[in-house]
Symmetry: C2
Subunit: 355 residues, 2 copies
C-alpha cells in the first residue's frame, strides 16, 4: 500500500484530482462524476459570479455526496489605461469583423470588483460548506486563510516553482499542486516570472517534494496510470489532471475543442497570453499565431479576458476553432473520448495504486 | 524484476546512461567510472577531431573493460555568409575586449569538413570496436546505418518528439533517447522546430513509448532514483542523465561551472542559441541575457560555435562565469558533489531496480 495522505486529507478513495478548469468546463456532471468515482471533482470558479458559483455548488451537491472542491483565482492589482484598451480593441477589431459581431460595449473590470467577487466566492465556499478550496494565481491573505481554517475548509495552493511551494507551506496551506510546464490552460505562477516558472513536471515535483513537508500533488502532462505512478515515484502523493478530464464526455468543453484535442499531437500546443492577459497553454491556432507579434503589448488580466470574450463567444457559437482558446497540456496523444468512470478505472487498474 | 531490454542491449548492469556531453566534460575518468560502476559511459564526440576521439577512446579502454559508447553530432548543411560572420564578430567584439583577447583569426567551418569529421568519427568508432554509437541533431544515412550494423555496433538515436522517434525506429536504430524539455545542454531536435519540440519528459516519454516498439531511454530532469523509477513507470526502459554526472568529481567540467550548478535553483536555467547557433539549456548569465536581443540573427551552428570559442576559452581560463556556457537541466537543486560510484549507488538503492 502506498502511503497516501492526499486521500486522507480530502477523504477520497483515489489520489486523483480533476483540475479546476474555468470557463464552463467543470459542469456539475463532470465534478460529480469525478467525486462519485473516487476522485476529487473541482469546480473552476474563475470568471464566475458568486451567484453562478452558488448555483453550481448546489447542483453538484444534488449529484454527489462525496467531497468536492472549488478553485478560485486570486486577483492581482492591475492597471487599465483607456489608451491600452483602445489599442487592444483596434487589434481585436478584424476578428470581430470576421465573426460579424459588433464592437461590444464591454464593462471594463475594476480592481475593487475583482476583489469583491473573490471575497464573495470564498464566502459562498464557507456558507455552502464546500470541504476543499484551492487557489490559483496567488495565495490568500492570512485573514482569509484563518477564516477558511476556522470553518474546516481544506486549503490547497498552486505552485510552479519551489519558492512558490514554500510560500504556500509557510502560509499553512494543507497541500500544494506542483504545476509543471506540460500543463494545459493557465500558468499558476505568482511569485516567479512566467519564463522562469516553466519547469517540467519531472524536474519540478522532486525539487518541490524535497523543499516542503506538506503533500505535493503533481500536475502537468499526466493522463493515465503511468503518469500517476510516475508522480508518486517522484515524491508526489497524488495527481491533478486537466486535459484527461477535458475530453471526458461529462466535461462542458465545446465539442470542437474536444475533437481538436483528440486529433492533436504533442507538438501542437503553445503558450499564449493573447486570450486572457495571463500565459496559458493551448493548441496553436490562427488567433494565437497572428497575435504573437502583439501579445506582449496587450492589456493585463483580467482586462484582456473581458475584451476577448465576445470573440471567444462568437467563435464558439459559430464553430470557428481558429478563434477559440483550445487549452491543452502537452500530452494530447494520450487523450481519449471516454467517460469519467472509464478514465478513473484505467488509472486505478494497477494493484499498487488501489491497494 | 523489471523487464529491461536496455541492460541486455548494452550489456550493462543498470539502465543508467551517462549523457554524452560534448566539450571536454566526458573525460576518460568519467566515462570509465560510469561503465565500471554498471552504467553506460558515453564519450561526447561533438566538436572533437577524429584524432582526439581515437586517443580518448583508447584511454577509456585502458580504464574499463565494460561497454561504453560514443555520441556523434550529425552535421547539417549550413550556409555561411561573410556578412553574417562580420556582423557576429562585431556583436562579439565587446566580450573579446572585456576578456582582453584579440579578434581571433578563426578558420570558418566548411560543410564538407563537418561531414568529413563526422564520417571519420564513425570510422574510428568502427575501427576501435566501440560497442555503442548514439546520434544527436539527426540520424545517420541508410548506408552509414548498414555499415554500423555490419560491424555489430548498437545504434541509438535522440528524439525530442514522437515524429523524430518514429523516424529513428524506421531507420532500424536499436533504441531511442526521448529528450524532454527539462534536459540541459543542446536540444536534439532535427525534424521538429525547437519551439515545438520542447515537450516535458512527463508528456514525452509515454507518448513516444506508445508510438515506437524499440526501447525508450528517458532524458530530461532525471537526477536520482526517483527519476529512474518514474521514467520506468512512464514506459522507458532506462534513463540518460547529464547534469547529475556533470557535477560528479570525475567530470571534466570547469570547476566554476560545477560550483554554479550546485548553487542554482530550478528557475535559473534558460534556452539560448547564442553560444553555438543551436538551442541549448544552461544557467542564465550575463552573456546569455545580453545576447537575447541578437540571438535570432546570429549565424548557424557550427559557425557561431567557432566564433564564440575564443570567448568561452578565455572565460574559462580567467574564471569568468558570466561568459561561460553553463549547461544545466532544470533540476540543479538535485545535483550533488559526489563521485560516480556514490551517484549510481543511490540510484540503484531501490530493490525494484537492482533485482
Amino acid at each position: 500500500m502506498l502511503p497516501n495522505k492526499i486521500t486522507d486529507l480530502f477523504k477520497i478513495k483515489y489520489p486523483i484530482i480533476q483540475a479546476p478548469m474555468a470557463g464552463g468546463i467543470t459542469t456539475e456532471q463532470l465534478v460529480a462524476a469525478v467525486s462519485n468515482h473516487g476522485g476529487l471533482g473541482m469546480i473552476g470558479a474563475g470568471y464566475m459570479s458568486s451567484e453562478s458559483l452558488k448555483t453550481l455548488i448546489r447542483e453538484v451537491k444534488k449529484s454527489t455526496e462525496q467531497p468536492f472542491g472549488v478553485n478560485v483565482f486570486v486577483p492581482d492589482e492591475f492597471e487599465v489605461s483607456q489608451q491600452d484598451v483602445n489599442a487592444a480593441k483596434q487589434t481585436l477589431q478584424p476578428y470581430q469583423n470576421e465573426l460579424d459581431i459588433q464592437q461590444p460595449e464591454v464593462q471594463l473590470p475594476k480592481v475593487t470588483d475583482a476583489f469583491q467577487t473573490y471575497h464573495d466566492q470564498i464566502q459562498i465556499i464557507i456558507d455552502e460548506k464546500v470541504p476543499i478550496c484551492s487557489f490559483t494565481f496567488g495565495i490568500p491573505s492570512k485573514e482569509m486563510m484563518e477564516k477558511l481554517k476556522q470553518h474546516g475548509v481544506t486549503v490547497v495552493g498552486t505552485a510552479t516553482t519551489v519558492k512558490e511551494a514554500q510560500e504556500i507551506e509557510k502560509l499553512g496551506m494543507d497541500a500544494v499542486v506542483a504545476q509543471g510546464s506540460e500543463a494545459g490552460g493557465h500558468r499558476g505562477n505568482f511569485l516567479s516570472q512566467t519564463e522562469k516558472s516553466l519547469i517540467g513536471t519531472m524536474s519540478l515535483v522532486p525539487q518541490v517534494a524535497d523543499a516542503v513537508e506538506i503533500p505535493v500533488i503533481a500536475a502537468g502532462g499526466i493522463m493515465d496510470r503511468r503518469g500517476l505512478k510516475a508522480s508518486i515515484c517522484l515524491g508526489a502523493l497524488g495527481v491533478q489532471m486537466g486535459t484527461a478530464f477535458l475530453t471526458c464526455v461529462e466535461s462542458g468543453v465545446h465539442p470542437l475543442h474536444k475533437k481538436t484535442l483528440l486529433q492533436s499531437t504533442e507538438e501542437e500546443t503553445t503558450l499564449t497570453r493573447a486570450f486572457s492577459g495571463k500565459w496559458a497553454r493551448g493548441i496553436n491556432n490562427r488567433y494565437i499565431q497572428e497575435m504573437k507579434k502583439n501579445e506582449e503589448k496587450l492589456p493585463a488580466f483580467p482586462v484582456l479576458n473581458v475584451l476577448t470574450q465576445p470573440i471567444r463567444k462568437a467563435a464558439a457559437s459559430q464553430n470557428k476553432i481558429e478563434f477559440m482558446s483550445l487549452w491543452s497540456g502537452q500530452s494530447p496523444r494520450l487523450a481519449k473520448k471516454q467517460n469519467v468512470q472509464e478514465l478513473i478505472k484505467q488509472i486505478i487498474s494497477d494493484p499498487e495504486i488501489i491497494n
